[in-house]
Amino acid sequence: MNFHHNSNFQNETLRDFSKEEERFILNKGFISIRKEFPIQVFPIISGKSKKTSLIVPALNPANINEKIADIHYASIADAEEAAKTSIKSFETWKNTKPEIRIGFLKKAADILRSQKAELTALISLEVGKGIKDIDAEIAEAIDFCEFYAKEAEDIFQPRKRDLLGEENVYTYIPRGVTLVVAPWNFPLAILCGMTVAPLVAGNPVIMKPAEQSSTIAFKLFNILIEAGIPSSVLHFLPGKGEEIGAYLVKHSEIHTINFTGSRAVGLGMIREAASQDLKFVKKVVAEMGGKNAMIVDEDADLDEAVIASIQSAFGFQGQKCSALSRIILLESKYDTFKSRFIDSLQSLKPGLPEDPSVKVGPVIDSESKTRLDNIASQFSSKIISKLKIEEGQKYTGHFVEPIIFESEDSTSPLGQTEFFGPYVTLFKAKNFEEAIKIANNVDYALTGGIFSRNPKNIQYAKEKFEVGNLYINRGITGAVVDRQPFGGYKLSGVGAKAGGPDYLKQFLEPISITENTMRRGFIPET
């Protein structure tokens, strides 16, 4: 068999859980991380832990009786100090040889690899993600380190175009202090990628993790410091987004904001950045969500389509920006798909995500639960199936019942609003062209998929389906670094794809230098 590789980058290997020893190591991870509870998470600026007046407990969303950590929230003063020291350290970091910065990323990848079991346990317990999703996430974090390290190796090779008597060099310099505002749903991978890319490019970074996943963020911060990143260029600020996040977004010395989160917050940042009167243009890189669709053609393999839809819609309770929330079916497939899909949902087991047989865990917090419950009652007449969660479980954790809706109106909120939960709606289309039209008729363009065995329709989708990541005859989540660079357009985001060839350049300014080397008719030999 012939495999065509276009790069020599190697993705991190997933763990093979059919092996008994892997399952054994996994269990040990839970035991050892629990011994550290409650973990004390502090703001850290230039290597120094900060005292705080606000301590918020981090609770296991699947069992709120379990305390994971105490999060010591940073203050505005801390944010100001982080910004100030970042500016001071910028010159040194900028002038540090790229090879040295690259080496730190490779070391970080090694440390991440060595701590897979504990990190898996911590992610499971702090955000309620399932084991296999976590394994993919840790692999992704490692991939980000290795991939951006490799990209940096290429980017920092100056591009030369020398002529007789004229030397031309095209090269990159770092932009400046970068604020990283990360989400909780990929607490390790997204934060890691968003942080190491500006760092390896030569920018000091202020990490502002999501409130809900500060403990994992703290672990990652410590790993990066352990890997050798100087404490003067990487600062850790757990705390309220509305407070310290907003303060730093406005800060006159922050050059780049690297954001992943809600559309409202992202657009707000872009407006804020544009309205500031600075000596440079503040850049916002934002990844903001989606309302992702799967089209099931009349000739689709339903065995595959149903499984892929279940995983894409309900994996991690639908709390992924890539999650499936609309299934657009060709009429002839509608009834069979619907009944198999419903039965399949009803076969999933809800419970504690650390139990490997559980497929449905909690949502992140009570706020999210209330919001989702309200949506469910608002559209209760459209519900065609709901996976029952036992009363007891509802009281001990933030569990939301996964729901399949059915709707004829793709312009209603069921077809337009991102719910960020285990909700999916079925829509009907007369033909494939109409299905694509429905799929495109949203503000977002993030991920999408089709199940079809008609080469014409596959080609049509490749040309017309408005998404950043299109998947054909497979699930629509689980993008792999370098193989499937991830990110959307329209209101799904602005900026280059994560894990792709353009990502690093967002934190760099390209410079072109031309030197006339001729002096009075004399040309030095090159």
Binding site: K132, S347, K349
Partner: protein, 460 residues
């Protein structure tokens, strides 16, 4: 493999002697099969000849397999003719130009395109019927009875779509229970059995574990095993009360350990520990197969009655290669076909050496592989009555007769289920399993080429 263990053979064959005997045995099988060829089963030869049209036409073969895979989801004649156009006319293949011209002419007219679609539908149904026994045991048991009359036993398996939910799994369980019921109540079958196959149990059923439980998951090993045992218990209980053989089939590598652990645990339960008719499968294309086989042998030694092991090469090679490549894993299967063949022979020897603690069932259509097993059996003095050969329903009938004539039992793996979705299933198996391709060549080859197939490593 060294042949120096305690229960070793009386006469140790030198490697050269062994090879020569295998060659002789293979030639004998070919000779015998030729003598059976023009009898009762000759339609198959016609069919396999027609399949030859696909040989050396890789693009057409690919489209043909793709079309068959798609076929079950085409609901109308107009969609069939539409897809014939898309798959065979608009996609370049090696179809001769005059056929293409003729075909597009027929498809251009509404009336004649219905004719083409109907033709394709009948053709696919007929093809499916070659490989699939029938819809249910009840409706098509005559065929099984006919096979028994011709001296060929069967193991029945239920085909179908993947189980996506517990509801679908429950439906399969009741289908298995119904099948056991029907087999045990078949008077005609029991008469033939008691007269011609005195040692055969009432029936023989192959169970696909993945169709009994929709949430099989290697990560959740413990709960998968527990659930699978719960699902299997009523089926095994029913089989025990009716004296029916139950074989647990193997599928993907990732569920192998779940199925093995399930078998080890459930066969040990008081209700089942002294039951003589249980079997499991070892797939020789897996690198772990010899280690697994040793475990099964050790387990079987502790039983009152030996387990049966169906030794196959395995039908998911492409799937396993894709999975491991995408996950960055070492492939669990041998990369070279000849390594699998060699391993098959080593596993055969291991099985035969464990006589009488385990019953071997050699599942293969490869004459070299089977000859090797027969020669080894003689070397280790394993009586012919103690092992059997298993082949797929619809394939290699003259070989089945040839093996029968050597005094070795032959059992057919006979799928039942809806013909159309079943066809897609079988095409997938055929496509995945390059050994079957070898088999087709095998059948149609002339005697010189056939002899070349008897060497373990193709020198080409």
């Amino acid at each position: 493999m060294k042949a120096t263990e305690e229960s070793g053979p009386k006469t140790i064959l030198s490697p050269l002697d062994l090879q020569n005997r295998i060659l002789e045995k293979g030639k004998e099988l070919f000779r015998l099969s030729d003598s059976f060829e023009d009898g009762f089963f000759s339609t198959y030869r016609l069919f396999s000849k027609s399949l030859l049209f696909l040989e050396n036409r890789p693009l057409l073969k690919l489209q043909a397999f793709r079309f068959a895979d798609l076929f079950p989801s085409l609901s109308s004649l107009s969609s069939i003719s539409r897809y014939i156009r898309i798959y065979f006319i608009e996609t370049p293949t090696e179809i001769p130009k005059w056929i293409l011209l003729f075909l597009s002419l027929l498809l251009s007219n509404r009336l004649s395109s219905v004719f083409v679609a109907l033709g394709a539908k009948i053709g696919i149904k007929l093809t499916a019927k070659f490989f699939i026994l029938g819809r249910t045991y009840g409706s098509d048991r005559k065929k099984i009875i006919d096979r028994y009359k011709n001296g060929i036993c069967s193991t029945i398996d239920i085909l179908g779509e993947a189980v996506l939910s517990e509801k679908e799994a429950e439906r399969y369980i009741s289908e298995y229970l119904l099948l056991l019921e029907e087999v045990s109540k078949d008077k005609e079958l029991s008469e033939i059995r008691s007269s011609q196959f005195p040692n055969e149990p009432t029936g023989n059923v192959s169970v696909k574990c993945s169709s009994l439980y929709s949430q099989l998951d290697p990560l959740a090993h413990e709960s998968s095993v527990t659930h699978l045992m719960d699902k299997l218990r009523p089926i095994l209980s029913s089989a025990v009360s009716k004296n029916i053989f139950i074989n647990l089939d193997m599928e993907q590598y990732e569920t192998k350990d779940i199925i093995m652990d399930t078998a080890f645990r459930i066969f040990r339960e008081p209700e089942f520990e002294n039951y003589p008719h249980f079997g499991i499968v070892i797939q020789a294309y897996l690198k772990a197969s010899q280690a697994d086989l040793s475990k099964v042998i050790e387990y079987s030694k502790k039983r009152k009655y030996p387990l049966t092991v169906r030794l196959v090469k395995g039908a998911y090679w492409e799937y396993e290669m894709t999975q491991s490549a995408q996950k960055g894993w070492e492939p669990p299967v041998f990369l070279k076909k000849s390594d699998t063949d060699k391993n098959y022979e080593e596993c055969s020897a291991l099985l035969l050496r464990s006589y009488p603690h385990i019953r071997p069932a050699f599942g293969s259509h490869n004459i070299r592989s089977l000859s090797s097993a027969f020669v080894r059996a003689a070397e280790y003095s394993v009586p012919e009555k103690f092992f059997e050969v298993q082949m797929l329903y619809g394939m290699g009938n003259s070989y089945k007769q040839a093996i029968r004539s050597l005094g070795i039992s032959v059992r057919e793996y006979s799928p039942i289920g809806e013909v159309i979705p079943g066809m897609a299933y079988l095409v997938r198996r055929l496509l995945e399993n390059s050994t079957n391709e070898g088999f087709l060549k095998n059948i149609n080859a002339n005697s010189k080429d056939r002899e070349r197939l008897l060497y373990l490593e193709n020198t080409k």
